[in-house]
């Protein structure tokens, strides 16, 4: 199946990139240790590769965090596999070589913890909220969920099986809006791309995804989204090959630096 | 049959065609009811000529007139596609449609020419009966023997009542035994065909048995035409001579004496100028020493090789006149015929035929072969 294939190629590519980065890192750190022995930063002694499985909606923010983490901890390399969280959970449970798992919903995280594959309890590091993504300039003047039910308005939602779809259903129920979408997309990027291509007039997507596509879509906030806030949990995995670095990465995501990167991407901080 | 010399043959064709460096230039006239065989070695252009007649290969020049209608005439931009020519073709390996029954193969032509299904099947059944395959109407081609397939192919070609029937090596795909029976039967059907028939073959026996007239083609040109008796008696090329099993040489004649190679032979005929001399291998006698007596054509030769030939042995001789001689095994043993051995060869003048190179051997006013002199 296509999606499987994509994951596989992504893995291969990630593995290749990881190997190259590792080789480079070893070569560079050999010199760096001599030049600047104090560069260890907060997590002294943390080094080696860290493999992070993260929900697709974390692509932009985590890629940035990964680079910052490597700078702060010379000797480490962070490799990501971004995909739908459920697919990632399945892969983790099938023994994929991952150190950290960051999911887009507590439900998908539960699949991993229930299978006993988490090392410790997951913690929420960010929250995401739905917005209405509309084409740039909002040609249909959408101002709330009720506008989406107007006849002739084509709407894309995520499928109820994936977190953004479940959240959309909750929000629509809370608003009491009877909405028949034209499509139930397999993930939030799919729903968003239908807006970008002009095939639908609106889609319910995460604010982070709308932020990432800000040059092509506008985001319309709506009050009922508060009913369907999505918690993003993160955990170190039992099968982690580099648990020390994995724990350090999780700490980094929860640090102020991490919060700044996440909020720039449109995430909200976890409830205190 | 129309009278000899009929100025309007059913088929009047001058086939000029090129096929990848090969040039064909063959004139052909066939009367109604006449069977003409195009005989020649492989690569002579026989099949190209047949394809040109059928409309499967366009003429580069010349003309093709069938029953008074121009079918192909490049200089007047006249061209009739194969499906609109009143021509039936029996292909070399028959090309029976494998997905159709024998009946539907035969009915294919009548159907395409407007008959409804029932009428076409009736025609097909009648033709299958005529070729003795009434019980095979529902058989698929691959269930038929070679001989049966040949007969279905013939029925299929004849079922459209063609003005011109073309047959490409009709017996070549059959084994020797089947060929004998099928040849006789084919002869019967060809004799009954009221239109013109052109038969392409490289087998002289097929040509001799099936055709009224032979047209010998070599290298894209007609080298000899005539009926079987004329062609076999007076071959004009090595190919024909070999086909009919004669020694053939070309020389210069003055009366009964012909200069050929380094020898002067005495022939039964009196000719003047360029001439062919021909004699059968059986007419060549071999002697260990110069014989005395009657034979006037005597020369010293060297044995080049000995092969079995029927009950006898055929001896290839080198010398002033390379010829083949047939001897009995007893004579061969007595003469100790081994390669390299010198023997005297003798041919009686009475068995040595001579005929002019320039004179036509064609009859009935057929156009002489291009390149051969003479008038109708």
């Amino acid at each position: 199946m296509t999606a499987r294939w994509n994951h596989r190629t992504r893995w291969t590519r990630a593995a290749l990139a990881g190997a190259v980065a590792l080789a480079l890192a070893l070569a560079v750190t050999g010199c760096a240790d001599e030049l600047d022995p104090s560069a260890g930063g907060a997590g002294d002694g943390v080094r080696g590769p860290v493999t992070v499985f993260a929900a697709a909606s974390l692509t932009e923010s985590f890629t940035r965090l990964g680079t910052e983490f490597e700078t702060a901890h010379p000797g480490t390399t962070v490799t990501f596999s971004f995909a739908g969280s459920s697919a990632l959970a399945t892969q983790v449970n099938q023994g994929a070589p991952a150190d950290v798992f960051a999911a887009a919903s507590p439900a998908t995280m539960r699949a991993v913890t229930d299978a006993g594959n988490a090392d410790g309890s997951p913690v929420t590091f960010a929250r995401n909220q739905l917005v209405i993504a509309v084409p740039k300039g909002n040609p249909r003047s959408v101002s709330g969920l009720a506008d989406l039910a107007r006849s002739g308005t084509k709407v894309a939602l995520c499928a109820p099986q994936v977190p953004c779809g479940a959240a959309a259903r909750t929000a629509l129920d809370a608003a009491g809006v009877p909405l028949t979408p034209v499509t139930l997309e397999q993930d939030v990027k799919g729903a968003l791309s239908k807006v970008r291509l002009g095939e639908v007039d609106a889609a319910l997507v995460y604010r982070t995804d709308a932020t990432a596509a800000a040059s092509e879509v506008d985001a319309v906030e709506f009050p009922e989204s508060a009913e369907a806030v999505n918690d993003y949990p993160i955990v170190v995995l039992r099968q982690a090959g580099n648990p020390a670095a994995a724990r350090e990465f999780v700490a980094y995501v929860r640090s102020d630096r991490g919060r700044a990167a996440l909020s720039a991407a449109g995430f909200q901080p976890p409830r205190a | 049959m129309t009278a000899p010399g009929n100025p309007h043959p059913l088929l009047d064709a001058h086939l000029v065609a090129d096929r990848g460096g090969f040039h064909l230039d063959v004139a052909l006239r066939v009367r109604a009811g006449e069977v003409v065989a195009l005989l020649g070695p492989n690569g002579a252009g026989k099949t190209t000529a047949l394809r040109a007649l059928a409309g499967l290969h366009p003429l580069a020049a010349g003309h093709l007139i069938l029953a008074g209608a121009d079918l192909d005439r490049p200089d007047r931009r006249v061209w009739t596609p194969p499906e609109r020519r009143p021509i039936g073709v029996v292909f070399q390996d028959y090309l029976l449609f494998p997905h159709l029954s024998a009946r539907d193969n035969v009915a294919f032509g009548p159907r395409r020419r407007g008959a409804d299904r029932r009428a076409a099947r009736a025609v097909a059944d009648a033709w299958l009966a005529r070729v003795g395959l009434a019980g095979y109407a529902r058989s698929r081609p691959r269930q038929l023997s070679g001989g049966q397939a040949q007969r279905v192919a013939l029925a299929r070609a004849l079922a459209v009542d063609p003005t011109l029937l073309l047959l490409d090596e009709p017996l070549a795909a059959l084994d020797a035994r089947t060929r004998l029976d099928t040849r006789a039967e084919l002869h019967r059907h060809l004799a009954a065909h009221p239109g013109a028939t052109v038969l392409v073959t490289h087998d002289p026996l097929d040509a001799l048995v099936l055709a009224d007239r032979l047209v010998i083609v070599e290298g894209g040109r007609v080298v000899q035409t005539g009926d079987a008796a004329t062609v076999t008696a007076r071959p004009r090329t090595d190919y024909v001579a070999r086909l009919v099993g004669l020694n053939l040489h070309r020389g210069h004649a003055a009366g009964h004496r012909v200069r050929v190679g380094g020898l002067t032979l005495t022939a039964a005929d009196s000719v003047t100028g360029e001439a062919f001399v021909a004699f059968p291998p059986a007419a060549v006698a071999l002697h260990p020493a110069r014989p005395d007596g009657s034979p006037r054509n005597i020369w010293l030769a060297t044995v080049a090789g000995v092969q079995r030939h029927g009950d006898n042995l055929r001896v290839q001789l080198d010398g002033p006149l390379p010829v083949a001689a047939d001897v009995t095994p007893a004579a061969a043993a007595q003469l100790r015929l081994v390669p390299g051995r010198a023997v005297w060869a003798a041919v009686k003048a009475a068995e040595t035929r001579a005929y002019p190179v320039g004179a036509p051997t064609a009859r009935d006013g057929d156009p002489a072969a291009p390149g051969a002199a003479g008038s109708p």
Binding site: P181, T183, Q186 | G55, P82, G88, F97
Partner: protein, 256 residues
């Protein structure tokens, strides 16, 4: 029987069959009946069979003449056209779906005109599923039929011509029956590819139960929440397609 052939042949077979064994090993046999009776399963299966069959018909109607053109007609740029035919094979299906949107979508090259002139919109419709499947599956048919046409003896067409058949009649009455096995093989490949189509379909036609949600889409979404449900759906798809293909093959080889 040369071992040098048998061993890799056996390995190849094992390689192809093992994943199926994996599916079977994880099949929740106890809950199978309830899962099969789940409301969406039959709908998705019916839609899959319908769209794959219609897509195959579309491919046959358009692909056989295209194969004929490639096999029998000399024209400048033929090699380029042959290479273009394989584009859907090389293109990731998701990209193929986007490409289809760029042509048949609301803002596509033809989509806007189709909508304005005929009121036809293809994205998010069952017709869109057929279109996406046909796009991805057509090369399989064209390549198979072209190969069959190249292998067929053109002299049969000449024989038909001498019997009075024009080119069209010769094609329909002689050529087509001669290459029928090739057309059938191509159609089977085409149908199987269309049946398993996922990427182009979900991108171009979206995913809506009963309208555009085919079995592969249902399987993918089931995978999000319930691995066992996904396995059951996959098995249903496999069983039905293998049964149909095996049935057809018997019919063909049993012919006279």
């Amino acid at each position: 029987m040369p071992v040098a052939l048998l061993v890799p042949a056996g390995l190849g077979l094992i390689f192809l069959v093992l994943p199926l064994a994996g599916l079977l090993a994880h099949t929740p046999w106890a809950t199978l009946p309830q899962r099969l009776a789940a409301p969406g399963v039959l709908t998705a299966l019916r839609l899959s069979l319908l769209t794959a069959t219609v897509a195959t018909l579309v491919c046959v109607v358009l692909g056989v003449p295209l194969a004929w053109l490639l096999a029998r007609v000399e024209f400048p740029g033929r090699r380029l056209v042959r290479a273009l035919v394989t584009v859907p094979l090389v293109l990731p299906p998701v990209v193929g779906g986007v490409a289809l949107l760029l042509v048949f979508g609301r803002r596509g090259l033809l989509g806007g005109w189709l909508d304005a002139t005929f009121g036809i919109t293809l994205p998010f419709t069952t017709a869109g599923v057929v279109l996406a499947e046909a796009f991805v599956a057509m090369p399989f048919l064209v390549i198979a039929v072209e190969g069959a046409l190249r292998g067929a003896d053109t002299r049969y067409e000449e024989a038909a011509a001498t019997l009075g058949a024009g080119r069209w009649t010769a094609f329909t009455h002689v050529t087509l029956p001669l290459v029928a096995p090739g057309v059938a093989a191509g159609a089977v490949l085409c149908w199987a590819r269309a049946l398993g189509e996922f990427g182009a379909t979900i991108t171009f036609a979206g995913n809506f139960p009963g309208r555009t949600q085919t079995m592969p889409l249902a399987v993918y979404l089931a995978l999000e929440t319930d691995l066992e449900a996904a396995i059951v759906l996959s098995l249903v798809l496999l069983t039905v397609s293998v049964a149909i293909l095996a049935g057809l093959r018997d019919k063909w080889t049993a012919g006279p």
